[in-house]
Amino acid sequence: TSGQTPTPAVQSSAPGAAASQAPAQGGEGAFPRNQTLYTGGTQWGAPANFNPIRNWDHATGTNGLVYEPLFLFDPNTGQFTPWLAESGAWSDDTTYELKLRQGVTWSDGKPLTADDVVFTFELGKMKTVPYANLWTFLKSAEAVDGQTVKFTFTKPNYQQWANALYSRVMLPKHVWEARSEEDVVNGVNDKPVGTGPYGYHSHDQDRVAWVKRDGWWATKALNKDVKPKYIVDIVNSSNEVAMGLLLQNGLDLSNNFLPGIANLVKGNFGVKTYYPEPPYMLSANTAWLVLNTQKKPMDDPAFRKAVASAVDTKKIVEGVYGNLVRPANPTGLLPQWDKYVDQSVVSELGFSFDQAKAKKMLADAGYKDTDGDGFVENKDGSKIQLKIEVPAGWSDWMESIRVIAESAKAVGVNLTPEFPDYNALVDKRSSGKFDMMINNERQLSNTPWMYYDYLFQLPIQKAQNTVNFGRYENKKVWDLVQELDGKKPEDEAGMKEVLSKIQRIQLEDMPAIPLWYNGLWSQTTSSVWTNWPSSAPDAPKSAPTMWRNWLELGGILTLTEIQPAKG
Amino acid sequence: MTLKVEDLRVYYRTLKGDVKALDGVTFSLADGEIMGLAGESGSGKSTLGKSLIRLDGRMRHIGGSAELDGKDLPVGDTHAMNPFRFHEVSLIPQYAMSAMNPTRKIGRMVDELLRSRGVAPMREELERRVGLVGLSADVLDRYPIELSGGMKQRMVMVISTLLNPSLLIADEVTSALDVSSQKAVAKTLLEFRDRDLVKSMIVVTHDISLVYQIADTIMVMYAGKLAEKAPADVIVSAPRHPYTQALISSLPEVGVRYEERRLQGIPGRPPSLLDPPKGCRFRSRCPLAFERCAEEPPFAEVAPGHSVACWKAV
């Protein structure tokens, strides 16, 4: 029974070990415990740079705590909150006008101006800057006056632009303008100058520490204040360490995937998650079963749909994850995007786990076991021998594809799990030399366009590095995705109309099979900080996380909501 | 009389049973006597030597006694033997080449050995004796491996005799050396006795011609028992025991040539000591054997200082 509680050993350990783990009281070089927030789960290696451009490997908090975006986006409500911007609006179909907030200053005292914003966006003209693609549809960015920026577009991709508005942080021109492209992209930026509530304090191999900065604009402007004086983000060396620290109150907020955490939540260990019961966590992204649609028999929608029905996702969710994740909707859209799912299309075309049906679908489509080995053959009689791959060492996924392979075998599809090296898999993935694999690289965002861009983007390149790994070619649906991009975010009805068409094709063709929603892993303890976001009625609902790109999705608000524990 | 051994019996315990390596040995050794102990391989020579100082862990003292300078030599008691070792009874082992600790300078090793025996280091005397055997004093500052075989052999001789023991047992000290070193070593033994550094000596060897050069008496062993003991010249020229006779006559000498005089070996092999036959053990190989030999012949004195264990000799 999964209700089994861990042995009391863990419990009794806490006091003794805490003595050694807990911060030294008042010791020199120690952070006063009651003013410090210990976080972990984002950084897996020593903090190596503080470069906001490198939003895949900069030190935790660089973006969000130090550098801030123009807007925040709340995925729960779907609302944009003006942040560095005071407001922004489309003045016509191809012009966007942005008004900056008054009185925002950089940590070196200089004011934030429209020039900084222009400068930041124009950095994207460097090809190696991750948002360089903005300039495929952005024509110009001009400072109209000190507080106003005018963006002119060749083609207004509203959805993408909305995304850029909250996901790109602003940089101080006076600090950055002298930097070369190499420095911009690969520099360490060891003295980050930002507008955010925290400044750099110190870092070490196993942590980065931020210290609260006086005069953060939001205190005055929005009456919001971050509570911890220090934030110390601890570098994760492993899950066990995180678990140990959490149990000993060495971590206040852990954003790790901790297997078995359900037992701790249910037991009396002082560890909490967003929901007190399955799935325990908010959802953060979708794990897709990506099928190589250019290979036989995955090029056949009927085959793909049969596989979709065959996979026992429930077994993965319960067996592998112990209910820490939840099964995905047939469209794969995250729960936060429920309103964008056309339920009628789903009920008409959606799949569910039904192996008998899967068998029938295979048979109907002409996949029969002609040589009696228990596995079906291709329509031309050739053998089907497929591999499903995830990187070696990614243990939950390794377990998962074992389940998937088992499921496939149960309906007569010869599928074997393999675990190549990560690099090898990246190679295969980008060059299309795989049969099936799992991928979850697109995260929750302001728009489902992101997901469909990920699924359907054309044209197929020689190397598919970030999107459409399955090399699914469907001009019609790609046109629809672009059409979606052209809908304004507030035009919900317009969006839904396009989305419904896309979802029809998606469910008919099944280029990739959504499996489950990975959680926004988050565990909190309340010995020092309380009032963590949770599903409880009176609790804050912002994202309880320090993950990269998530501070902009509300993580920063969490820091303004938490309260020091009494005593 | 330095040494008196009475009916000494020493067996080795093995899986197959006791090896009766020394089965009732009685003899004595006069002051200043050098006795050569000869015999075929496996006849118990080394066993006799070792049993007098009680060395081998597998050796079992079955019976008999020994007396040294009128004191009882505790040949059956390892612990009680210890005070006698080195001081009274000493040994030059067969393995002189490896007898010294390879990682200590020789001088230091001797010092430590002496001190552990409660004797004050005697560097001067040591150097004197080293000179006596023809080595220079600086060998004491060397490690054993820096010495040649002959040098090591002589060094061990010096160490073993340092405390002027009453009895020195020299086990096959020359067999690993070539003729010229053999001569030098043998002469050194003689000199030790002549200078009174040791009172008496048992020289174990299977080379009768060599031991003849230095020994006063020679004792011949056969299959764990004594065959004959007599002054060296008597053994060589007028042996009484058929085994000794055969042994002596099988030795080729310089000048004896195959074409001119055909020497004869002794046919057959010595009996197994696991279960030796009753009576005279040489019986089966003996050309003179007769019925009486089924009885064990006593080791009887047939002439002054000449004892033989043979019915025919009596």
């Binding site: - | 070539d178 003729v179 310089v254």
Partner: protein
């Protein structure tokens, strides 16, 4: 029959053969049929090395060894005619196999097609030649046999082949006095059957007992050689004399003779067989008696150099 001509052997020692050790230097002599040549010398003088070269167990560095005028390195089935017996009878047998395996190996290599009965006959006749009783030695393990039996079995093994030459390297030094003489006598019989024998020993009395010719080695060089009675009867080289003087004899004690005077110092070469360039070579002091360098009076090359 077997002829050595200025045979030398250099061992390379040290890492990657950095140092040279000249174990045998320009040795030349001959072994005729029915002749025992004894090779005498102190430890390390190169006796074994020489024997091994003759047996092709070691390569000749310089010079040549010929059998009936043909270089042994080029002879096929050389071991049919030349065989050897070694010092240690116990280690000549692989201890984990039966002793008669040494005979079996001969059969496998040289008489693969011989029938069992023929083979048995051959074995028995060669055992008879060494006076061994087949029942006493066949099927036994080495440790069940005596040293003398083992050595004789090895000779019997050689006799299975129609050998003409036997190299006997210290074959009696590990044996008891009483068994020694049996093996020596056996060698005497063999030469009567026309075998040439190289008898290696450091015991002069044994060499003297059976050999026709004697070669005295020192430091890899021949210091004296010739007919045995000449070498022993009139040793010319001080080293030979010294050796003879050290031999313990029955009936005569060392103390009874005056120590040989230290002659070494008188001649530059005596102690210096090791020094190369100017070795004078062998001089025939009397017919059939060669000496590398004799006592000061007759040592012509030395006199020349002293001048």
């Amino acid at each position: 029959m077997l002829r050595l001509d200025r045979v030398s052997k250099t061992f390379r020692t040290g890492s990657f053969g950095g140092r040279e050790l000249r174990a045998v230097r320009e040795v030349g002599f001959e072994v005729a049929q029915g002749e025992v040549v004894s090779l005498i010398g102190e430890s390390g003088s190169g006796k074994t090395t020489l024997g091994r070269m003759i047996l092709r167990l070691a390569a000749v560095s310089d010079g040549s060894i010929t059998l009936d005028g043909v270089d042994i390195a080029r002879q096929k089935d050389y071991y049919r005619s030349v065989q050897g017996v070694f010092q240690d009878p116990f280690s000549s047998y692989n201890p984990i196999f039966k002793a008669d395996r040494v005979l079996e190996m001969i059969r496998q290599r040289f008489f693969p097609s011989m029938g069992a009965a023929d083979w048995r006959g051959r074995v028995e006749s060669s055992l008879a030649a060494v006076r061994l009783d087949p029942g006493g030695v066949l099927g036994k393990y080495p440790h069940q046999l005596s040293g003398g039996q083992l050595q004789r079995l090895l000779i019997a093994r050689a006799l299975l082949l129609d050998i003409r030459m036997l190299v006997a390297d210290e074959i009696i030094s590990m044996l008891d006095a009483s068994t020694r003489i049996d093996v020596l006598n056996l060698l005497g019989e063999l030469k009567g059957r026309g075998l040439g024998i190289l008898f290696i020993t450091h015991d002069l009395s044994l060499g003297n007992y059976v050999s026709e010719k004697t070669v005295v080695l020192r430091g890899g060089r021949v210091v004296e050689m010739g007919r045995t009675e000449l070498v022993f009867g009139n040793p010319l080289h001080p080293y030979t004399r010294n050796l003879l003087g050290s031999v313990p004899r029955l009936h005569r004690r060392w103390s009874e003779e005056e120590d040989a005077p230290e002659e070494e110092a008188t001649c530059f070469y005596h102690g210096a067989a090791g020094r190369d360039a100017t070795w004078p070579g062998l001089v025939e002091a009397e017919p059939g008696h060669f000496v590398g360098c004799a006592t000061s009076g007759t040592c012509a090359p030395a006199l020349e150099l002293v001048r």
